[in-house]
Each structure stands twice: as C-alpha cells, then as structure tokens.
Symmetry: D2
Subunit: 470 residues, 4 copies
Amino acid sequence: MAFFDTVIRNGTVVTASDTMVCDVGIKNGRIVALGEHIEEGSTEIDATDLLVLPGGIDSHVHLEQPTSDGSVMADDFESGTRSAACGGNTMVIPFSLQERGESLLNSVQEHHDRASGKCHIDYALHAIITDPSEQALVKDLPEIVKGGITSVKIFMTYENMALNDAEIFRVMEATRHVGALTMVHAENFDAIRQMTERLERAGHTGPRGHADSRPIVVEREATHRAISFAELVDVPLFVVHVSGGDVIEQIEWAKRRGLPIYAETCPQYLTLTADDLDSMPTEGAKYVCSPPPRDVANQEACWDALARGVFSTFTSDHCPFVYASDTGKQIKGAQESFKYVPNGIPGVETRLPILFSKGVSEGRITLNDFVALTATNHAKIYGMYPQKGSIAIGSDADIAIWDPKKRVTLTQDILNHNCDYTPYEGMTLTGYPVVVMVRGRVVAKDGKPAGEPGYGEFVSRGRSSLVPDR
Amino acid sequence: MAFFDTVIRNGTVVTASDTMVCDVGIKNGRIVALGEHIEEGSTEIDATDLLVLPGGIDSHVHLEQPTSDGSVMADDFESGTRSAACGGNTMVIPFSLQERGESLLNSVQEHHDRASGKCHIDYALHAIITDPSEQALVKDLPEIVKGGITSVKIFMTYENMALNDAEIFRVMEATRHVGALTMVHAENFDAIRQMTERLERAGHTGPRGHADSRPIVVEREATHRAISFAELVDVPLFVVHVSGGDVIEQIEWAKRRGLPIYAETCPQYLTLTADDLDSMPTEGAKYVCSPPPRDVANQEACWDALARGVFSTFTSDHCPFVYASDTGKQIKGAQESFKYVPNGIPGVETRLPILFSKGVSEGRITLNDFVALTATNHAKIYGMYPQKGSIAIGSDADIAIWDPKKRVTLTQDILNHNCDYTPYEGMTLTGYPVVVMVRGRVVAKDGKPAGEPGYGEFVSRGRSSLVPDR
Amino acid sequence: MAFFDTVIRNGTVVTASDTMVCDVGIKNGRIVALGEHIEEGSTEIDATDLLVLPGGIDSHVHLEQPTSDGSVMADDFESGTRSAACGGNTMVIPFSLQERGESLLNSVQEHHDRASGKCHIDYALHAIITDPSEQALVKDLPEIVKGGITSVKIFMTYENMALNDAEIFRVMEATRHVGALTMVHAENFDAIRQMTERLERAGHTGPRGHADSRPIVVEREATHRAISFAELVDVPLFVVHVSGGDVIEQIEWAKRRGLPIYAETCPQYLTLTADDLDSMPTEGAKYVCSPPPRDVANQEACWDALARGVFSTFTSDHCPFVYASDTGKQIKGAQESFKYVPNGIPGVETRLPILFSKGVSEGRITLNDFVALTATNHAKIYGMYPQKGSIAIGSDADIAIWDPKKRVTLTQDILNHNCDYTPYEGMTLTGYPVVVMVRGRVVAKDGKPAGEPGYGEFVSRGRSSLVPDR
Amino acid sequence: MAFFDTVIRNGTVVTASDTMVCDVGIKNGRIVALGEHIEEGSTEIDATDLLVLPGGIDSHVHLEQPTSDGSVMADDFESGTRSAACGGNTMVIPFSLQERGESLLNSVQEHHDRASGKCHIDYALHAIITDPSEQALVKDLPEIVKGGITSVKIFMTYENMALNDAEIFRVMEATRHVGALTMVHAENFDAIRQMTERLERAGHTGPRGHADSRPIVVEREATHRAISFAELVDVPLFVVHVSGGDVIEQIEWAKRRGLPIYAETCPQYLTLTADDLDSMPTEGAKYVCSPPPRDVANQEACWDALARGVFSTFTSDHCPFVYASDTGKQIKGAQESFKYVPNGIPGVETRLPILFSKGVSEGRITLNDFVALTATNHAKIYGMYPQKGSIAIGSDADIAIWDPKKRVTLTQDILNHNCDYTPYEGMTLTGYPVVVMVRGRVVAKDGKPAGEPGYGEFVSRGRSSLVPDR
C-alpha cells in the first residue's frame, strides 16, 4: 500500500517566501511531507515544469446574498464555489448579510443553510452588520465569533445598509470587545445620493453616471472617516476594494502614523476604467460595481501599491448579476437611471489568472507576492492559518497546480459561473491553473469542475493576525 | 475752519504690507489723506511713537445668540461691542443663528433687531443655517445675501445644530449658487457623543472630560470630510477655529492639491491647553470651549501655521457665559457632567492684545502680518474691502492707535465684557490699544469705552474675495 | 508755485495689500502725499483708469558680467537698465561676480565702475562668491556688507564657479556672521557633467541636450543639499530660479519643518518648455538657460506655487546673449555641443508684462500679489524697504503707471535691450506699463526710454528682512 | 544505515512566511525533507519546544579590513565568524576594501586570502570601491562580479574613502552595466568635516562630539543625494545602516515615487542613543560608530519602519576595535579629539538575540519578519537564494535552533569575539540560539563554538533580486 494518498512530483512549490523544486506528500487531506524524492502515493501527479501553489482563497465574495430591490445574485454557493474552483481557488469567504431589522444570529444561520451541502470548495463566512442593535452587538456577535465567524463588515453606503457614524463607532467597540476584525466598505452614502440627484437632474442617467456619481473623493472621505473611528476606538481596520491613488494615500498616511490600517484591491481596479461604463452604451451596466473602476493613472497607483506591499490581499469582490435578466442588470428602472442597476460584477474565477498574468508574467510582482496576496495573507488575516493558505507540513492540502505558460483567452463560454458575461471578455492571459485540490481531492481540472457540491466544508475561524490579544 | 475733521499726527501707520510714519487726515468718517505734513484737523491726535493700525475686525463672535439649553450668553450686542471696542476692534461679525424649525429670514431679522441701536462699533452678520429646508436655501438665502449677509456657517456638531452629510452638501450647493462663502465648525458629532458616553460610563465627568471627549481626531475627520464636500460641490471653504497640527495638516494638504480651503485660529489655541480644564477642579468649566484647547505641541503648530500664512484670519470665537450663574457655567447638570457645561469663553477684548504681545512683541509674526490677520484679511474675505480693514484713502476711518510698549496685566476687573471672568487672568502683555475710532469717532480710550451704544452701524457686505465670480 | 513736483491724479494705487483710487503727491523724489484731492503739482499726470504701481524691482539680473568662455553679455548697465525701465522697472539688482582667484573686494569695485554713470534706473548689487578664501570671507565680505551689498549668491554648478560642499558650508558661516542673505543657484554640477558626457557619447548634442543633461532631479538634489547646509549652519536661504514641482516640493517640505527657506521663479518657467529647445533645430539655443524650462505640468506647479505664496519673488534672471554672434549663442563649439552654448536668455523688459497678463489679467493672481512679487517683497528681502518697493509716504517715488487694458504683442523690434531676439516673440499680452518714474522723474514712456544714462543711483542696502538680528 | 545524516525532530520550523511543527531531514549538507514523521537520521536532534530557523546571514560585517590610521580591527575572519556562529549566524558578508590607489582586483584577492582557511561559517564578500578608475570599473569590476562578488559599496564620507559626486555617478553606471547591486554609506563628508572643525574650535572634543559632528541632517542629505543619482542612472540602491526618522522619510518618499530604493538598519539604532557617547566620559568611545546612535524618538522610528516593512534587512555593521588598546579606541589622538577615535562597534554575535528579544519576544515584529529580516531577504538581495537563507527543500542546511524562553544577560565574558567589550553590556534578553549548523554540521552550541576554522566556504553569489535583468 502506498505511503501517501497523493504525491505531487517534481513541481516548483511556491510559498509566500520560498520557491523550491520538490515532491509533496499528502495524507488524509493534509500535507505531511515535502522532499527531494519522497515515497509513493496512491495517486501520483507529475508537476514537472508546473507551479505548485497554495490554492487561492478569495476572502471577498458575495453568493446568494439577499437583496432589497428584487435582484438576484447569479451565483449561489454551488455555482459560485464551482466557478471559484475552476479559477484556482480552494476556499472562499462569502458574506452573511444581516438585513435591517433581522436578527444577526438568524442571518448567519440562514447563510449556513444556503451553503450547507452545496460547496465545491471550503468556505467560511464574514458577518455583515447592518442593524447594530444591542441584541446584535452584545448577544449575537459573541455567539457568531464563537461559531468561527471572526470578521465583521460594515457599509458606509447603500440604502438600508449604510451605518451612520454612531453605529460605526458602536460596531467597532463591539468588535474590539470580542476580538473580531472590522472590515469596511468606504464610500460616503449621502454624497453619492446627492451627486446622483444632481446627475439625474442633468439627465446624465446612463451607466457612466454610476462612476460619475461616486468619484474617488467619496471613497477617500469615507476611508479617512473610517480610519479616524478606528483610531478613536483603537481597533485595526481592513478597508476593502480600494480603487485608486487618493485612497491609497490615506491608507499609507495612516500606516506611517502607526495605525493598524490594512487594505485590499481587486482585478477591476487594475484592468477596467470608468470609460468601460460608457464606451458601449447599452452594455455599460456590465461594469457597474462599487467603487467604480477609475482611470489608467489609478490603475497604475493600485499596481504600484500592490508591488510595494501596501495591500495585504487581493480579492475578486465577486458579486454577479445576469446581464440579460430583469432580476439582473436589466432590473426595472435600470434603463431609466444607473441608480437602479444592481452593483457588482462576476470575478471569482478570473481573479487569479488575471493577477498571475498581468502581475507575475508581466513582471510587476513576484510569484511569492502572488501567493501571499492570494492565499497566505488571507489565511492569516482571517484566522485560518496554518490550516489554510500555505504549502506547509500539517496544512490542509489545498493546492493549485499552475501551468505558467498556458495561454488562455478569457471568454464567457470558458467560465463556470452562472453569470451570462464576464467583464474581461477577450483578455488574453499567460498562466492558468490546471489542477486544483481541496484537502487532497481534485475539485477542478483544466478549468472545468472535477469535484462535487457538498464536498466543501465550513471552516471555523480563529482570531485574525491583525487583531491583538488584549 | 480746519480742513480735516481729525488728523492723527506722526504715527507709524501700518497696513498689511507697509509701514510708514505719516499723518492721517480724516473727513466725514473716511480717511482722505496720508502725508508727511498735512493740513490742520479740528481734532488733532499726536501719535508720535505710537502705531496707527486698522481697527480690528473680529469675524467670529457670538452675541446674544439663542440657546436651547436655558443658558444665556453673557454679552449682548451692547456689551459685546463695548468690550470689543476697548480691545482695539472697530467691527465685529456676530452670527445670526437659525434655530431648527425656524425661518432663516426671520432669524436674521431677529438678530438685526437685537443689534439695532445697541452697538458701539460697526457690525455685520453671518448666517448660521441649522435647518436647510427648501425655503431656507432657495428662497431665504438669496434674500439675506442681497441684504448683505454673504457668509453662511454650518455646524458638524452640537445637538440641534449639526447638519448631516446630505444637508452639508445641499447647503454648499446653495451657497455656491448665490455666491456666499461657506464656513464650517468641523467636529464629528456622533463621535463626540459616543466618546462622551464612554467617559460618562467611566465616571470621567469633570470639565476635563470635555477635552477628552473631543480629541483632535474628531476635528481632523470633520475637516477632511468638509474639504471633501467642498471639493465635490466645487466651493471655497472656510474652516473656523482650527486647534492644532493634525487639522493644519489637512488644510495644507488641501491647499497643495489646489483646493480653495482657508482657515482661522484663535487665542485659546495659542495660549491655553487641555490641562487648564482640570488643573483647577472647580474652575475647569471656565475653559470649556469647542474645539478644546490641546497641548503645547499643538500651540506650536498653530503659531507656526500663523507665521507661515496657513491661517487667513485670527478671531476670538467670543462666546461668553457667566461662570457663577445657573444660566452660565453652573447651569443645571454642569456639576454632574461636562456635557451640560455651555461651550464657549469670552475673548473679544483680549484677542488683539494677546496676538500683539505674544506674536509681534515676541517676534513670531510681523506687524504687517498682525494687520492682515486681524483686519485686512477679514475685510477682504468677508466682502467689506476697501470700505473696511485698512488705512487707505477712501476707507472708513476705523483706526486703533496702539502703544507698543504699554505693559498690561489681563485681569477680569480691567475688562469691559459682561462676563465674570477671563480665561487669561494674570497674563502680562506688552502692547495695548490706546485710542480706537470708528468712522473717525473715538469709541474707546485707554481700554475704556468712550462712545455710545447705537453709534455702530450694520455693514452690508458684498462677495467674499474667496468666492469666484462664475 | 505748485506744492508738489508731480501729482498723479485719480489713478488706482495698488500696494502689496491695498487698492485705492487717489492722488499721489511727489516732492523731491519721494512720495509725500496720498489723498482724495491733493494740491497742485508742477507736473500733473492723469491716471484715470490706469494703475499706479510700485515700480518693478528685478532682483535677479546679469549685466556686463565677466565670463570665462569668451562670450559677452548682450547688455551692459546702460542697455540693461534702459530695457528694464521700458518694461516697468525702477530698479535692478545685478550680480557682481568674483572670478576664481580674484579679490572679492576688487570684483565689487569693478562692477561699481561698470555701473557708474550708466544706469537709467536705480541699482544695487549682489555679490557672487566663487572663491571663498579666508581673505574673501573674513576680510572682504564684512567690507562689502558695510558698503551696502548684503546678499551673497553661490553656485552649485558651472565650471569655475561651482562651490564644493565645504565651501558652501564656509560661505554660509560667513554670511551668518555678517548678517548677509545667502542665495543659491541649485543644480548639481557633477551630475550635469556626467549626464552631458553620456549625451555626447550618444551623439545627442543639439540644444535640446541642454535640457536633457540637467533634468529636474539635479535641481531637486542640489536644493535639498543647500537646504541641509542652511539647516546645519542655521541661516536663511534663498533659492533662485526654481523651475518646477519637484523643487517646490522640497521648498515646501523645508518650510513645513520650520526652516527659513525662500525661493523665486521666473517667466521662463511659467511659459516655456524644454520642447522650445528642440522644436526649431537651429534656434533652440535661444532658449538655453539654467535651469532649463521643463514641461507644462511643471509650469502649472510654478503657477500654483506663485498663487499659494510659496515663492517670495518673481524675477527675470535676465542673462542676455546675442543669438547671431560668435560672442553669443553662436560661440565657437556651440554647433558641436550644447555644452558650449552660453547659458541665459533676455527677459528684464518682458518679466512684468508677462506676469501681469498671464497672472493678473488671466486671474491666476491678484494685483496685490503682483505688487508683492515684483516689488515690495524684493525691497524687504533685499534690505531696501521702505525706501523702495511701495507706494507709501516717505518712499522713493519709484512708480510704474500701467494701462491694464493695453494689448501688446511681444516682438524683438519693440524691445529695448541689446539682444537680437526675445524668447517670447509673438506672445500677445494684456496690460503694459505706460509711464515709469524713478524718484519722481520719468525714465520710460509707452515702452520707450525717456530718461538718460547716469540718472540711476546705487542703492546701499541694509539687512534682509529674512535675516534675523542675533 | 540511517536514511538522513541528521534529523531535527519536532521543532517549530519558521520561514519568512510560514510556521510549522515538523521534522527536518538533512543529507549531504542540504535540507532534503520536511515532514510529520520522517525516517531516521545518523544524528537526531530533539527540537521539541524549540524554534528551527534559517541561520542568520549578516550581510554587513567588517573583518580584518585595512585601515589608514594605524588602527587594527579586533576581529579577523576566524574570530569574527566564530563570534557570528555563536550568535546564531551561518553566514557573513564582510567587505573587501579597495584602498585608494590600489587595484580593485588585488584588493579582492587579498580579502580572499585573509578569509581562506579561517572561517567557521560560510562567507561571501562585497566590494568597496574607493578608487573608481577606468581599470577598476571597466576591467576589474566585471571580473569580480564573475567571481561571485555581485554587490558594490561606496562611501560618501571618510577621508580617503569618500567618493565625490562624479565618482558616485560613474560607479553606478558601472554597476548598472554589470548588474551588480550598489550599496551606499550615506553621510556628507564635507559637512561632517566642517562640523568637526567647529566643534574643535569650541573645545567640544570628547566622544559625544562624534555624534554632534554628524547630526542626522548629514545622513538625510547624503541619502537624498544618493537616491537622486540612482534615479538619474536608473539603478536600484541599497542604503546601509539607516539611523533614524529623517532618513526613513527619504527612503519612503523614494519608494512612493516608484524608485527602487532599499535599506537596512542595525541594533545600535534600536537600542543605543547619542547619550551613550557622553554618559560615561572615559568610555564614550565604546559607542563611536557611524552614523552615530540618535535618540529615543529615532529608535522608535526605526522600530516602526522595521515593523512596517520599510527595511529589507537587519545587520550588525560589526566593526570591532579593542577599547583598551592603542590600535583600538585609545589610538594616538583619541584623547584629544573624537575625530581620531576609530569608528565602529562589535555586534555580529549580539545582533540576532537583540532583535529576537526586543523585536519578537516583546511583540514588535513576528517570527516570520525576524526570519525575513535576518536571513531570507539577505539571501535574495545578495544573490544566494535559494542556496542560502531558508529552510526549504534543496537549500543548504544552515540552521539555527533557538530556545525562545532562554534568558541571557549580555556581558563581555560570554561573547566570543576578539573585542574587549560589548556596547550592550548588561542587557537582558529572552531567546537565544542553542544549536547552529552550517551545511548540516554543528558550528556552535549554547553560545560557544563547536566547529573549526576553515570549515566555512566562500559563497559565489549571483544577481541580486533587486537588480533587474536588462
């Protein structure tokens, strides 16, 4: 009988700091050996000339999340994790949205229910708090943290979701108390609403208006405000989906002051621009997400910040809506005003290949940076390390084998999400995942699913590496 | 018959840029001649070895302003302008407060009524908008601008006064439309309230808690936010009573970005610290004002910014409450929590001597800077130049003659306000105004009133120099 | 007999802070009266609808300065001051260059000799020290300061002129000792030489190579270095002819640190670009000056810094060489390599009209800023105030009357220098000086000389306003 | 026969990104297996509760380097590497100093000779160029790069060593051409010399004068200048031994501009201050090194920059001189003036324990940061990765086993250098290396040598990770 369940032979194993050619031995779903010539495995995979990377963790994903406008997210936990797997991911962290007036605890249970038995890869949950009642903060939050949900996201924009300043303050006091990490979507709601009205009065109601109604000033302002609250309450803060230079300036300013402020960016801010919203009059809605893509200078600022280590993680903010559907981008009103267009774009499957190609293959970041930004840092920051996020002895065998030379042109028909388009249609990439395994089992191969729904398990998370023990 | 009504002989006339020894000829209340040896005046004043400065304009003064907590301001338009005159001022700009729910137009009329027939020196009014209704912004505001009130202040803190972000946005759109200058009291209301609750829970309820509940972060945040809104709406912004380095950093950051952001500071931020609020347990309330005095490093930052031209004006934020009164600092509740202590300190009479002594006499700023910061810039920024603010042909003869060598120790008993204390008790100064005249008539002499109530007239103002014609 | 020698009636008198319509009375060469309706003058000038400004002071001018390469400056003290007068100036401060190995005292005497009996307008001298010997610094420098030359310029570039770091340090120690102001031409000599060699090796030897051999990095570096020495020695520093944003950033960084660092810019940095050096292959030499003009973004940075008060003065750096002459731009070698082209362009006559038109008429700066930047600040910074630089009682009657509506197209044939071209050929301006008087006597009218050589006197200067008494 | 030569069992293996409990299998001097339970080794080491780290690489060490003042370095390659081994290092990179007038190639050969057969641990060499002749740059440099010396250090200070600006430029052009990394000691020589003379004139000649003669301004200036040259020549630059906040500000400013500027700091800048130079009048010389230690605020700035990733490496700048010797700190003249005191302090043995204790044990940095800063980044930056610097399959078995709980008080008598003092006398630490092995062989145990001279081999290095392929 073979010593290992699986052995990956002769690949180039890459961690967030190291690169080595070796064999990887897997047993009972965990990595138990790295070596020059290790013993036999029941399954043997030849990885000669291939890269053996920690499977991607996408810590910013929206799946089957409830909405208040009648729209429906294109992906549920089944299709979303399937798409993720095919794009090189072994884990996602979708959000559990508390709707206003709803119990926080119930909302988490509902998302557990939605995920249960559906996932192709492992998953965890972040909690979104939109209704920071006494019950939610004092009673429910400690419960859900105990249940392994140790990060809380708040919104500073969106009808029915934006918290006011007092609420932000109170949520931070609560996350501080329980040792959870605070994440923030930083855009100023009131300003966007006022700008929107102004644009509507001017008849500027097409999709491009979406970008014009939320210039980077509104993101910068909210970021500064969130940093200020974090400073007052003395908590670390994670700023999600940073879109450009002015916001990066705030993040770095805070870091230089010694404040524990961290951030992520996403593929759309590296590759799309606001012009995508108006270049194709009828199709601009495909690029409507928040914050909106900016311009080339802001793309460069994001790339530069990625390379300099300003961003801790790189995520997709996958938030898919079908384009040709009245529960998607064609929802009632969307033709009249951009403000009705559901916010969000698909991306969980394309995140890693885009960063690999534009980042690693084109020489902007190193392979080790890639691993840190797409896997290891997520595991540490979201309290799953060393179980997840690395190729290390004892860690789960969550591995993506990449062919760094494989040329792929992104098109809707090669993707595996339930959305009907990709904003990256036609983009040609170098480098793609060819085998993806979760806990030692192959879940995707050559960009197609190879596992089954329900294999993916819920990962109960511990304290974030960013949150101090007090 | 004498050619001039009054001639001031042989003084050192100082403007915001120049210094010259000459005679000043006054006729019909205006300056009509400057010269080496001018003709005779009915009244002759010998100013040999004295400084002849434009009378001070105090553009941040609260007089007989309504409150919502039962407190009563110590000074009305009579005593306030009397006190101002004795401290070297020839003009004040108090605020006309619109109370929530009240008509903006009515509020202005009420303040006109309060001022009428009472003032020792000339006065104008700023409008405070707390209720930016359609009526207020669309109908009333153009009216009051036409009536010579061309500046609007908004609050980002204070119960019943703080505007939310949407309201700030709308007020700026309105001021932009009518060409009025927007002024802002920048502190984050929600944050202060949350901090206050936290301090109260911790039993930290003495006057020092006032400072601890509103650390400079809350001022910095609100300043950044106000700047951001001004950027979005494309209006100039005037940030009042800046208290320290972190806020100055925001102001300068905005200026370097090319934004039309301006600011003032006040004597309390150059000479007092938060320690004054707790050094004398029972008397800390005397120093309760907002923003609170900070620390020595922030004093230095304010001095440095004054010297470098970051601040456009220097004002008192005179807002007097009697210490030993239950309509003043001893109001119901004040013993239980700092949050009930009325915010504000007297200072209209001491502003100029403090800056003269600590600034000019001690070599931190030039005499020309002093004139710019205390008179000329006020006149320009608030739309009264060249009628007011300088010693120039054609300008009103609003003149303060200073003895730069005169030593004065500030004590309550030499002051002329209706308050029962001065926060600067015991401070020894070098330099004091000895004759103050408004439109050619002496209104104060040697620190005592020499005019009469009702002489002071309302000054209808034009467009601020900071507001572009569009 | 008329009371005044001259009266200028009904003009709009402008100072660095004020603007007033009044009459100006002049007697014995000084301004003795400003008033609404003053008495008669022997000469009466109607200035209705005209501006009455302090005559321009150009504190950065090179006239008949010795060179070491056989080139000859196009203007001597006669033609240079004639040209200056026609462009609205009433005073210039050319440099007295000490050549290496020469006595500092002698060099000053030689420049006095060159100037004596030649000047159309008043003049002072700066001393350039290129050979900071013990004799120069300890013996001669105090002498020349006593003789009214209270500013010392040093070069950080140019063969035979650049000081090394130890010499810079020692000069600053010496200027500190005698209370003189240190001025610096900040470009890194070694770097420029190395860059030049590289360009020559690459065959890039045309005039454009001049700009490419001294990118703004070499100016930024030298500026930072000079600031650092000034910090070590504890002296104020005046950085001449700043050409763009990176250098401005250093200046502002120093100011924010509380260092007494000041700077000027010049018309070429507001209106020309490096492209002017190569757009006309054979004529690029006409634009060769150091630092070279940069690009449009740097022009904007300079305009912005002017408007924000970062620059204390605005000068021409007039340094004229005849284009069509082998002692000018066609000097031996100039065809082979840019490095032989004499550095410098004419500009003393065009400085004021360019700033007036592009700055005041186009709304970038105020008229008061214009006066400060072109006259008053020069007088203060270079120790001649209040004798020079303002329209104030007792000051010399150095006055330029401008027609703010006059349209002029700059062309070589309207100018009065001895150079054979203007780099601003064809530029159309709004606003031009129509009468220029020095000490009450008209020296130029409608852009043509109206005085005579020798009328201009040497002005012995006192301590700079930037240099503290110790 | 055992499968492995050595197995380290059950330790906590730490890399720059990962932490895992596992066994390490070593064969033929290399790490060939990591696993949960690996096969037997001829030697078995139980590392339960211990940390298994990559051996430290000290890339800034001076050993037996020639001097020009008669002083003699306390450590040669034997004692220096012995001391290094006992302090947890498995490799050092001393400098090969080219003396002025000497051949670069010969100087390297001499240092090879000095090292050969002497070293306890592996070593490489950096080349110091003090005489950038055509021969040195064009002929010798490519040779020594081929010989595995791929980094070149230059001095901006020190008699006989400082390069002038033209030389710096040319060296950078040469390193660019051959793909070597440029390192710089950034202090302004002329400024220091001038400051020294001033201090001597003032009779301030004790050791404290050393710090006062080179305030951080001289380091900041030289850093800005070196950055500027690197920008002009387009090379990456490594700034050694950064001592405080003003220099860090320059480094970060450059990074934000996208320039490839990197830096290191050293223990003395985290733990000593300038006061150490004068607190013990006769012993201040023990702390004389360049740059000098600063103050507590600068220590904090260095710690903060370490934690934020501004510094790429942490080194000792070990440069030992015997205190009680006239070829050491008591050299002729040292009593008369600090300027004769040899510059440098010992530290190769204490570097790692100090950073471990003050950094890791006290919670300022993570264990992974420690590994990156002390080993992995050195290997990458100096072109030895993956042979050196990590615990990875295929890498040399250069390993330090640490007891993280071990308490050690640093005193001269426990150290193994040839110096007669340690500047850290009496400092109590938590965490110390207990077994150190180079290529699988134990070279130190419990702070005492366990290997032998001559075991250590020269490591020929490749291209730095910071230097791009062109």
